[in-house]
Subunit: 328 residues, 2 copies
């Protein structure tokens, strides 16, 4: 099993990415290919004694596609960037799976048009595991498709079902539709029509889910268009951060509070780690012909290691094949 | 100034509603009309010594429109419900403003088709003040219109602008568009087109706002379609509740934690009250010819009192007139 990792994608690239790849190699014995400036990569590896047991490959390029570049430039102007060459390793079968913490738009465009769609898939979509007090749940699409049609939401549900079965080992995943009310007739035209398709699909469809219930983990997958999904994803993050900051302010307010905070330290820390997306891994781009995992832009080494682990499970359990089968 | 209050709308009706109306009368000298079962209302008033100084009027009906009734039944089957008769008091000018904690759908339908739209308004919309660490911000539409067109979002912005100036006393409200990225070209077709209309509108448009930034209070009003707005509103609620519950679990975990929690009690309580929507009042239905305020379904007496206060300010400061002027 060889995973190609875009060493220059993400806010903390290249150091945290390379360190994460090293940790994944050490813990899971995965063979790693790193793409990016070879000189810099080799320097970081040498300085930190990251040992890859001779299995490491490096594809050398100085070009990087940034968050500010047009995502479609991955097809031409930046086709030889660290991300572009990582895609090439995947497509030309020198690697089994792809991980990048770089531009989401470029990963979606490259995945769709370079790696290409599974036959029958209208639009690939990004899914993401989110933390909840009683486990975790899968949100999809989290932003690859701003404008959706009902049949796209149906396909997202079928893909999420396959992913949860194969990667998360959930036998009969409960799949809900994000909506503004629980009744069948609620929502805009898109969601009313999607409901009708989903209730006849060969999945365990549990109906509409209101966003208020979502963080409680009431189902295994919440299906949504990429616009609402992206709003939801970032709002959970924003609300949690705002609240935790307010609590932190209380803890530091005076000596009495600081003392109380000290007594709670361990438990509050475990709460923070529950909300921490780096524990959970990356977002799979489902619907393309090979395993493509988008790690969070702010990924640290641990998050990259977990995204690589996810890529391995994804590949070993043949998620792509199952999606193709289920579509038929 | 007379406010008609639907005494039988909301989860805590009629007691908390009547108590809230009494508190508003006591503190603001507002004249109150209550709609609903006269016998029950009079019994509650007598038993609790709620004194309305002879100014109280009651419009008697035993019918109530519930959350489960079709919202359009307010026009016919439930036109003589407590909400229906409250609308009648407003329309026939026996009251200056309307407050109900009942079915949102019925309030939107009744407001739109009984009270009627301001000339030129395509669709009325619900706005709501939400708490943020540094103050509060206005979210609109929070759910009256699932399917929107770009011109509707433009009108929402113009109405929010008038409301914030007149009711909140904000001189030049900063108005943002909820979107999945800050760049002008981000979002689905609806939001891209809305952006173009908003940037040329006679308001202080500050561009796209990502949901992650929203809870920080980066602008005074966040404009959105009713689908995304409702998802956002309920997700903030759901995420906050989930987090606060996790923190509560930590506080009760063992004796050491209970002691620490006791030391923090006052500050944590003030945090909870910051997040508490009952402090903030109700959601105005903007775009209709008279002041209509929707209080939260779970309103207690304090929330109803605040919604009535809001109705008074709304009426005194002639928000309806300003919206009509600004539209031209």
């Amino acid at each position: 099993m060889r995973v190609v990792v875009d060493a220059f994608g993400g806010d903390n690239a290249p150091f945290e990415i390379i360190k994460g790849a090293y940790l994944a190699h050490k813990d899971f014995k995965t063979e790693i290919t790193l793409s990016g400036d070879k000189e810099v990569i080799e320097k970081i590896i040498a300085e930190n004694n990251f040992c890859f047991d001779d299995s490491l490959l490096i594809v050398d390029t100085k070009d990087v596609i940034s968050m500010h570049d047009d995502p479609t430039s991955i097809l031409k102007a930046h086709i030889n960037s660290s991300m572009g060459l990582a895609f090439k390793e995947l497509i030309e079968e020198r690697a089994d799976a792809f991980v990048s913490a770089g531009s989401t738009g470029a990963i979606v465009v490259g995945g769709t048009l370079l790696v290409k769609r599974i036959k029958g898939i209208k639009r690939p979509a990004l899914g993401s595991m989110l933390p909840s007090p009683d486990g975790k749940y899968f949100l999809m699409d989290m932003g690859a498709n701003s404008d959706c049609r009902p049949e796209m939401l149906l396909q997202f549900a079928i893909m999420a079902d396959a992913y949860l079965k194969q990667v998360e080992g959930i036998e009969n995943p409960k799949i809900g539709l994000l909506n503004i009310g629980t009744e069948e007739t609620k929502g805009d035209q898109l969601h009313i029509e999607a409901y009708n398709l989903l209730k006849n699909a060969p999945i365990n469809f549990v109906g509409n889910v209101e966003s208020r219930e979502m963080p409680k983990g009431v189902c295994d997958a919440v299906i949504t268009d990429g616009f609402s999904g992206n709003i939801a994803l970032k709002l959970i993050e924003g609300t949690s951060m705002t609240l935790l900051k307010l609590i932190k302010n209380i803890f530091y307010k005076n000596i009495k509070n600081k003392l109380a905070a000290l007594m709670l330290k361990k438990d509050v820390y475990s709460l923070k780690s529950l909300m921490d997306s780096s524990e959970i891994g990356g977002a799979p781009l489902l619907g393309v012909k090979k395993p493509v995992i988008k790690a969070h832009g702010s990924s640290d080494a641990k998050a990259i290691k977990n995204a690589i682990k996810q890529a391995i499970t994804f590949t070993e359990n043949k998620v792509v094949d199952l999606i193709a089968e289920n579509l038929e």
